[in-house]
Subunit: 233 residues, 8 copies
């Protein structure tokens, strides 16, 4: 018997950051273990190049040897890790991350952690579902003080429509797979967000907190660039 598994081949797109302002990240789910371990060993703390890992399973991560674990800042709820972060942006704007319920925490925090990794400011507003509208009303003004809004919700995702009708900010909606029955792993939330009666709500894939943060980062990068240009003048 021979286990003839070929050695893994990974081609990093290191030029991505200079090209589009966002560094490549490693989507860990489904990657064979040897490839993942190889990547973690190459991009731990202090090795000179910030790399972000998403969907890094806790049971896998905590089974690694402790030296390798200690080379990372790991968060088990969002399942994200980094060795080193990107440099903190000089731009003082920030992104609001608003979620409907505590079950949405893994996704909301994936967005928050991505923003932190990229060097941006953010505030996390959790458990603001519309079944109790007073919660949203009480913090609307504070949310509107942010430059971009990421809204995270499962089930009927009505929060996206309600918030979209109340804030003038760019709003990026992330459906979550929270729910059962016709919630269908987030598909109903996704569809509600896409057909939102509020204009200009943009949507990410189900559970894609990372993508939402990247969409927000594209906006913050642009604001930072403009702020920089104008200040210089």
């Amino acid at each position: 018997m021979t286990d003839s598994s070929l050695s893994p081949g990974v081609l990093f797109d290191h030029a991505r950051r200079s090209r589009i302002g966002l560094p490549e990240a490693v989507f860990c789910q489904g990657k064979p273990a040897p490839i993942l371990i190889d990547l973690l060993e190459r991009f731990g703390r202090g090795q000179g190049r910030p790399v972000f890992f998403t969907r890094l399973d806790p049971s896998f991560f905590f089974s690694l040897d402790s030296v390798l674990q200690s080379a990372f800042d790991y968060d088990s709820i969002s399942k994200t890790a980094w060795g080193d972060k990107c440099p903190k942006s000089a731009y003082e704007g920030a992104c609001a991350v608003v979620s409907a319920g505590t079950a949405d925490a893994p996704v909301a925090r994936e967005a928050a952690r991505t923003l932190e990794y990229l060097g941006f400011n953010y505030t996390l507003f959790e458990d603001y579902g519309v079944a109790g509208l007073w919660r949203l009303s009480s913090c609307l003004e504070e949310i509107n003080r942010h430059q971009a809004v990421v809204v995270v919700a499962g089930f009927d995702a009505a929060l996206a429509s309600v918030l979209g009708g109340l804030t003038p900010r760019p709003i990026i909606a992330v459906p979550t797979s929270v729910g059962y029955g016709v919630a269908r792993g987030g598909e109903s939330a996704l569809h509600s967000m896409l057909v939102s009666c509020a204009p200009g709500v943009a949507v990410e894939n189900i559970d894609n907190g990372y993508g939402a943060a990247c969409a927000a980062a594209r906006i913050l990068n642009l604001l930072a660039e403009q702020a920089n240009n104008l200040k210089v003048t």
Copy 2:
């Protein structure tokens, strides 16, 4: 050549009203024309037996001879007709029918017309979508003065969740096929209503204003029965 179409066979369930409090209705869509005409001729005004026709297409109805047309109270938006109505209920309670947008009118009015046919009071609140929440806030108190609430919405159907979180009344939600793309002919609205974050929202099939009114009528019948019993005492 012979067109050997067999003569139509219709078995009316006339005992339905005494059994469940709701008379049989005729769902016209898809029924062959000769069967429909036969039924209309048998149940026009003054022929002694109230029968309700739903999904009766305007182009078909207005192509009938004028004597037959004049035997009916027909509404072209809801596509409903009756010769005679059921007797007006002595019960003074009422049902609120609340819709999200004017494009939902055919369904909201099918519900309203059904209630009128069955002899119940109702109020129609149209164009109360959550993208402008102030509209709903301004009439919430009035809605809550009704005994049952039918909520009609397409697109993301967020109105059902928001209203479900604000009213203590029995609430029956009807998704409409209004929308495009992933609205999918009302499926997204249906799913949003079914996975509503507000507790105790009950749902009807897409565009089924008739069914929602019947569900409300079951409640109003029960309240009428109880009121009658208690008053007698």
Copy 3:
């Protein structure tokens, strides 16, 4: 390595009961363990505030320390728990909960337990599927003595249509995920109920016994309110 999980944030909607007559409940499925434990510790028996927990997994519950377990009335089939119940309603009406098969027990009992928690009377009729119609016939009169009917069925869910054609009561149908193949986790039962040939059948999400009980409670609350008003007069 750092596990930097942020501390959980939960915003309770305690005003819900006074607003809509139904207290907030905790949907446990998918909530991270630390959040759940925190909630259980705050709302056990005798802590002054009734809170209802749904979808609380047995293997999780029975892994808790015994003191915490003993602070709850837990039912492993319906996966529901409460520390204290809501006060018993003075209203003497009741809800019938009728299921098609014993495999529907988890959902039928979630409905029953919710009614008990909310302080309402109910009767549980199990295993009344239409493949043996005599079972339903034998108890129809008894079912009709209840004020509301919750019908729970998987597979083809034909029970909802048959019962809907036989009872005048408000009827709330709950599809269950019982079945295989094109049963599709309850979707076929859901669709059968939504397109029921019996008028006025209202439907909840798949497996949502809790929601059905809440819909019934909205009706019972209304009847209680009317009864109270009329008696006072």
Copy 4:
């Protein structure tokens, strides 16, 4: 400009009847007009070979020249036609065709017409939906005097389950595309029939009355063959 349409190519499977007891039929829907006309001209009355045409659109058929029309027995509700029928079977058994509503007539009659074409006896029971169960009860005994049962229903198709639990006969269920919303063109009826709680219900494609009659004919052929063998003995 040249319209270079190639001449049509049709390969008849004339041996089908001797092979499986059922002659080939022509499914007209979607076939280009010249091919259809060619076939009709070859298989009209008296041309020696019985051929059955299904889904032959009335507006197309009635636009043909009158000589061609007169060569066929055409039924506009079932959209079926034949020049000559197959010889009448000597077998005296029969098939019951039971439908839930008058809107199912096109499909129920396609089944009935197919049986007639094939030379078998049948009885048509229309409008026996379960929302008024008394209708079915009143004729159950008569249905059971037939050797096979074809049940035709749209919407929730609950009739198939109820009848399947009451008759010992081979039962072939045909869902129809009658309905709207989640009826989804007959898919919900199809699924209900496939997951029927009654054992041994066999199912055909949506609106396939022809196929159901063929399935019944396979049974009747077998009974005829056995009857013949036993009588000979």
Copy 5:
């Protein structure tokens, strides 16, 4: 803490056999363990009443105490069990069960075991997929000596169409969940069978070998009845 699980309620439809010729069976999947054990204890060998158990999981069955196990004839591939079988039918006809591949064995054998339990003869033909047509050709004559044909296939289920075009017998097709990707748990096989180009193929739910055998049994019962009547004469 109290585990207040209510005691199970099972209503047997013992009259089913005299009504439709098929005894009630117990579908074990999803039933709570205490209910299952209770049923097994009541219907083991020698307790006077034949009951058939389907989808009885091996790991569950083999965890029972050995006395209870020994009261059953259990087959781990089809996951079926009985204490006593129904009496052997005097009818000498038989059913052919033909499968496309060895991965279809659980379903093909569920059909075979059901036939055996009901007292009918059958022959099992396994691994006759159409990618190697010679296999089917070699045994077609033998298949046609049976009175009914159950065809079991996953993936593209082309076997049903090919066999349906070659046999005159009543043919009941069972799609299996074998496959991956767009096989979608048997849905593609189901659809292929439903839209089969061969006339009169009747279809069961995915993986429903039990239902196919029941459909065949309805036919065999009918043949037996006719044979009996004719012989008596």
Copy 6:
């Protein structure tokens, strides 16, 4: 006969612009004709309030009386109309609208027309599908000189991923219903965009050019606000 259509009820959300920076628009599809005509009569040129009409069908529009037609700037490809536009923004930034093929023109131009109505600058890049990559390469630099990018594509929508990997700008992707077969009315394009391998691509509903322009406008509004603030300083 009486056509008792109730008079239409429209509740305008005129405060929307001050609340979220985007005025309410009228979605015309599915609205009954009398309601539409009433709205057009109230919001034609020179009546003081800019209102935007989307999905205004050409055959309907061109059937209006010519005075009413002449009160609007109407575009038949995008099916959009306005009486008066919003005031031109002082902000000099602009949005790029890039489409994959000429069949996407209705959607791309709906986005362009919305931007024009709202007072923003834009450039339209049509027919840049990736099957001929050189087209995109040739204008990438010009696209990147815009502040936001709307990408419009049907079929496989690969353009969104390729462009998302090449531009640092906020990118809003709009799937179109162009295609056939599994293109499924734009669903495949939608899904491709949602699961794009390029990070931070935000997505709108199928054919929702209006929504994409609104999402871009939220970004341009924000940039304008910041530019204004910084210049003032």
Copy 7:
């Protein structure tokens, strides 16, 4: 009123043929009429550049002025047109196009016409469905004398599996939208072909005869290239 439709923008990928061996084609469905007319005027007979038009609707084509019509070779069944064809290939190999039924003619002939336009030889085999297997057996040897096989089928598409198990040639399967009910516009045929039990069947989108011919052309181009190289040597 102004119809401000912007003038159409078309960017031809004229380099496609030299890059991949296949010239760009114009997919006409959904393209606005002015764009189509402009393209037809530019690429009629004798204008020096062969261009292929697919999905060119007959009612549109025959409404054009006769001079424009006469500049094209148009086929109304396949809905294809060309002004000039590509030069005839020197390669003597050929492609077999095999269809299951005459209703598949539009797709089979789109494939045939594409091959003719591209300059390749082909043979068209129509009406070879597996319900009558003898048809396929009779011409298998002839089919195998071709270098590539395009198989076109709707409904259950079993022909692809049967033929895939009988021919060693590269086989490209095209599902058609022929059928009804769960045929679902060709989706069932598509899925059957994708999960075919015969190895190495490659599949195109529903009704994509053009694509199948292009896939075959890639193979024929390669064979021609190799033949050329070897002969030169």
Copy 8:
């Protein structure tokens, strides 16, 4: 208790290779363990007949006794095994296998292993997703030196369209189940490939690397045959 599992029945199609140039393979997923073990024991190294096993689960394989394991060349990433390979082809052409990301490795390598087993040359290009287009550009020329191209991608599968627009070679696309949310287990990738804007891309079922290699082998077999014929001349 009796476990009466019938002994397994396997009918090998050993003639397949001579008929279509591809030997039968064993699809292991879902096959009962005893059948699998029996097959492995019959077709290990040196037993004279090459047989290929796909989807052979590592945990199952590594649980076999070591003698049996050592009789196979097993690869745990592709889950494939063989005892003996087919003889190496004399043909010197080769197939390129190009994947979008390292998570696609199991499928890309299943294709590669199948080619190796069948005796063909191949080159594996991994991690060439279009988010970093420079990767593909850098090796396009090398890819085009191969006779056939298998492209393997999950998520949006844009690689298939981009590569399809750049290579003249026959191209076989395999979607993978890599992704989450609306990636839907590979369905979005499948659909993107089927509606690819590049002409002549042929597609296999999700994760079917084996099938793609077989499709490529049909082409390589044909080229080998032609090369042989021409050289002989």
